[in-house]
């Protein structure tokens, strides 16, 4: 997926990862780490690749959370803010109404 990330094609891997670690430590990471966090789609290839059995995918996910501003980094420094889907639950509830009976919604979804 790195081919889709801005500035990642010739990036120094250690530099990128150092930025991810910064995010994990609740500090703003470098720009290339943000590019990496943006294009990670949790394919889990990194888990298989790690010889130490570390779940790097989960670490990246937590770094994404940090870059969204949810772990202490101030919102103005968070790099992935605004990723929350607008009207997420209102849309879910709306579609439920079209696909279930009111009894099913009451029984299955409350």
């Amino acid at each position: 997926m790195t081919k889709y990330g801005e500035g990642l094609q010739n990036a120094d891997a250690k530099h990128v990862v150092s930025g991810v670690i910064d995010w994990l430590q609740q500090k703003p990471g470098n720009a290339q780490s943000v590019s990496w966090l943006k294009v990670c789609t949790q394919s889990a290839k990194c888990i298989d690749a790690c010889p130490k059995g570390i779940n790097a995918m989960k670490m990246v996910r937590v770094a994404q959370m940090s870059a969204m501003g949810s772990l202490g980094v101030p919102a103005e420094q968070a790099a992935l803010s605004g990723r929350d889907a607008k009207d997420f639950f209102r849309v879910i509830n709306a579609f439920s109404q079209t696909q279930m009976t009111s009894q099913q919604v009451q029984k299955w979804q409350r």
């Binding site: 997926m1 889709y4 943006k38 294009v39 789609t41 949790q42 394919s43 889990a44 888990i47 298989d48 779940n55 989960k58 996910r61 994404q64 959370m65 969204m68 501003g69 949810s70 772990l71 992935l80 803010s81 990723r83 929350d84 889907a85 607008k86 009207d87 997420f88 639950f89 209102r90 849309v91 879910i92 509830n93 709306a94 579609f95 439920s96 109404q97 079209t98 696909q99 279930m100 099913q104 919604v105 029984k107 299955w108 979804q109 409350r110």
Partner: protein, 281 residues
């Protein structure tokens, strides 16, 4: 699992767009002798959509686990790979689940001998499975392929490149990758002569079903192929709305009554744009 097993079937949030998949999945579980307590929608959110607000996510996770514990089935069978992943990776770390978690494909596959006896109707299709390789917790692709091979009439075609992510929604944040995957899917389907692309997960069905407007194949979730062979039909409303055409035609298809129930503003601001969006390739 024994024949009278009780389970909670956790279908998740976004799958509610596809009542045909949910109702079909429940029918399949019942057909293999499972007593099902369905649970899903916003009231059973895992919280994975709230990575930007972990306090909210934690509250959702705690509420959902508490409800599952109260069901008392001791077994939760997940449909959604995101819910499955979030339960294993996060929710389970700050809650006290009193249940085992498994995936829908695992349960159905384990009971495929029972299921095979119910699949009596021929479904004449040349099917290519749309696969992702990112759901590392459960290797769903071979399980689904085995299930599809049970259906008389289906020719399961070799071919098709597995896509990144655990399902298409994971790619929607990287639009160029979703576009590449969609184009590759169309090329693969043409190359292997598929008349049907079978999706595994709801978000793939959501994001790819609009291809039917321009491509020479149908996009159908594998659950629908299995239930069709059982003689059961569950209408794919979402796809019908997507394929209706112009805004006016979509509105007519959804219907005034449903739109009024949803709320006119919400429908026009959030739902209609989604229904009008076509896959990019």
């Amino acid at each position: 699992m024994n024949a009278t097993e009780k389970i909670t079937f956790w279908y998740g949030c976004n799958a509610v767009r596809h009542g045909d998949i949910i109702h079909g999945a429940i029918a399949l579980l019942e057909a293999v002798g499972v007593e099902v307590t369905p649970a899903g929608g916003a009231g059973y959110c895992c919280g994975t959509s709230k990575d930007a607000n972990l306090r909210a996510a934690e509250g959702m996770g705690q509420r959902t686990v508490k409800k599952f514990n109260a069901h008392g089935t001791g077994k939760v069978v997940s449909w959604c790979p995101s819910c499955y992943r979030h339960m294993n990776g996060f929710m389970g770390e700050y809650t006290q689940p009193q249940f085992e978690l498994s995936h829908f494909t695992q349960l159905l596959h384990a009971r495929r001998d029972v299921l095979a006896q119910k699949l009596t109707r021929r479904v004449e299709r040349k099917v290519m499975l749309h696969r992702h390789f990112g759901f590392h917790e459960v290797d769903v692709n071979p399980l689904v392929e085995d299930l599809l091979r049970l259906v008389p009439g289906i020719t399961l075609l070799e071919g098709g490149t597995a896509a990144p992510g655990h399902m298409c929604s994971a790619l929607s944040r990287v639009p160029a990758s979703l576009k590449d995957v969609t184009r590759g899917l169309c090329d693969d389907a043409a190359a292997c002569g598929a008349d049907t692309v079978a999706t595994v997960f709801h978000s793939c069905q959501r994001l790819l079903c609009g291809l039917e407007a321009s491509e020479p194949f149908r996009v159908v979730n594998y659950v629908s192929l299995l239930t069709e062979s059982m003689g059961l039909t569950f209408a794919d409303d979402y796809k019908a709305w997507k394929l209706a055409g112009s805004e006016d035609e979509v509105i007519a298809k959804v219907g005034e009554e449903r739109i009024a129930a949803i709320g006119e503003n919400l429908f026009r601001e959030s739902i209609l744009p989604e229904l009008m969006r076509r896959p990019s390739k």
